[in-house]
């Protein structure tokens, strides 16, 4: 079989997840599981309020039937599930779990939104103020399954890291400050493809601030961000105009953060006063 077909199949099987926070092999300490398949400690279960759309996802739960790590003929021992699923059985199991998870999330989100809307309405009628635009959020949520699945996969890659684990242990929900602490993008909100991808990138960059220390010394990503004067930029919820997915994000400067071996992809950050350059064809 040609290399081309092999490559394409891999892409299809792993959907459009280009931003893998499971990074290069050197960054194995970023993964939620070591190469020997040993599981990290259990995460806290998602409780009340706080981030919308954030739930314990399928990748952290272990249905009884699944092994924590599995041995493939090529490997010498159990292989981390974070790595590419080679066998069709697991791929299908995981895919099914993710779809189910997304449907479950959608129902919970709807209920949550409806609940919030009712409370808001009650509050408004009692105080006599006029309605705000938020009350109709339930009508404008993203429901396209393909989109939700793709977004969920991207979120999973970010959550399936030691950094995320350490983060949620260290900073309980009620202590989180917006802007300072990473917040999982809400997959049920309508965003353009580019906007969403950028939110994911920025979220993962922020999460790297909680990476476990490496031998080479850990540069705090958040320090880097402040140094580069990007602190304000990181807080802006980027909402790009609706352009076709095939175009790349227009940037005038491309800044890769140093010392971050775990970053799978270089991060492009847009300066607020930049001018948009036309894409090179």
């Amino acid at each position: 079989m040609s290399d081309w077909t092999r490559g394409r199949r891999r892409d299809a099987n792993n959907s459009e997840v280009e931003n893998r926070s499971c990074g290069p092999s050197r960054g194995s300490n970023c993964r939620k599981r070591g190469i020997d398949g040993s599981l990290r400690a259990n995460r806290e279960v998602d409780g009340s309020g706080g981030e919308k759309g954030e739930h314990t996802d399928g990748s952290s739960k272990h249905s009884d039937k699944r092994h924590d790590g599995f041995t493939t003929p090529e490997s010498t021992g159990p292989v981390s599930r974070c790595s590419r699923q080679a066998d069709w059985g697991s791929q299908v199991d995981d895919d099914e779990e993710m779809r189910r998870g997304v449907h479950r999330d959608m129902q919970r989100y709807r209920r949550r939104i409806l609940g919030a809307e009712v409370t808001q309405r009650e509050r408004k009628t009692s105080s006599g103020s006029s309605g705000s635009c938020d009350s109709k959020e339930g009508d404008h949520m993203e429901t396209d399954e393909a989109v939700l699945l793709r977004r969920q996969k991207q979120i999973n890659y970010g959550k399936n890291t030691l950094a995320y684990d350490r983060y949620i242990k260290e900073v309980p929900k009620h202590m989180r400050q917006s802007g300072v602490h990473p917040k999982t993008p809400n997959k049920f909100r309508k965003y353009s493809r580019r906007s969403w991808d950028q939110q994911i990138k920025l979220w993962k960059v922020k999460l790297h601030g909680w990476d476990p220390p490496t031998e080479g010394g850990q540069d705090n990503v958040l320090d880097n961000i402040e140094e580069l004067g990007l602190g304000d930029v990181m807080d802006i919820e980027l909402d790009f105009p609706n352009l076709p997915d095939s175009q790349n994000a227009p940037t005038t400067h491309s800044i890769s953060l140093d010392g971050e071996d775990c970053l799978g992809t270089p991060v492009k950050v847009q300066k607020t006063e930049s001018t948009v350059e036309p894409e090179m064809a």
Binding site: M1, S15, K65, W88, R99
Partner: protein, 219 residues
């Protein structure tokens, strides 16, 4: 489900038939790895069985899902994957086995869905198989062409939905084969022309085309 004739298990010995019938009703009571191996092995040998083996797989998968189990499905898929890896070798050894394999994997693709969606993991492998069947050295063999068009009739529309570009790629090959390849039998050309028209009509054959291809010619 009670009519097990649908599953074409008559070719098995009685003990195996018993095992399969039990698996259909109560998967957790049997060794599902063994059952999946039996089914896969038979599908590779028996053309009649391979044409509908997906259905028996479907029933067992449904039954085991109710028992919160996924062993059977996982095993079938992994066996399929193993066979996929050595498909070229299989084809070299026995055209019949190769054709049985393609029939089986397409059948599984047809029947086993995940939340009513086709299994993503199978899409490219199925395409790889069909595209292999459209290669010049395969179009020469009527049994391979026959397999190809039969599968396209069954799952072509679904396949196109999940990946249009590869279907286009396949049909480029079919057009080329039909137009340019020497040494094709007239039956092969007929099959190719029919499938070209079939897809062009949106995976439906027009009434007149149907008459052309499928009516008996009264003499």
């Amino acid at each position: 489900m009670e009519n097990t004739d649908d599953y074409r298990i008559q070719s098995f010995d009685l003990d195996t038939q018993m095992l399969l019938k039990t698996a259909l009703k109560d998967p957790s009571s049997v060794n599902l790895e063994k059952v999946s191996d039996i089914i896969v092995d038979q599908s590779l040998k028996d053309q009649v069985f391979s044409k509908e083996a997906g259905r028996i797989c479907y029933t067992i998968v449904q039954a085991e899902a109710k028992q919160n189990n996924g062993t059977f499905r996982r095993n079938v898929l992994n066996r399929l994957q193993q066979e996929f890896k050595k498909r070229e070798e299989t084809r070299g050894r026995s055209l019949q086995e190769w054709v049985c394999y393609v029939t089986f994997i397409c059948n599984v693709f047809d029947y086993l869905k995940v939340n009513n969606m086709p299994m993503v993991a199978l899409v490219h492998p199925v395409y790889d198989c069909l595209i292999r069947l459209a290669q010049p050295d395969a179009l020469i063999n009527e049994e391979e062409v026959d397999c190809l068009v039969v599968q396209l009739h069954r799952i072509g529309e679904q396949l196109e939905k999940v990946n249009g570009p590869r279907m286009d790629q396949l049909f480029f090959l079919l057009r080329d084969g039909f137009l340019l390849q020497e040494g094709l039998t007239s039956m092969t050309r007929l099959l190719l022309l029919e499938i070209l028209e079939f897809r062009a009509g949106g995976w439906v054959l027009s009434g007149t085309a149907h008459k052309y291809y499928y009516s008996e010619i009264a003499d």
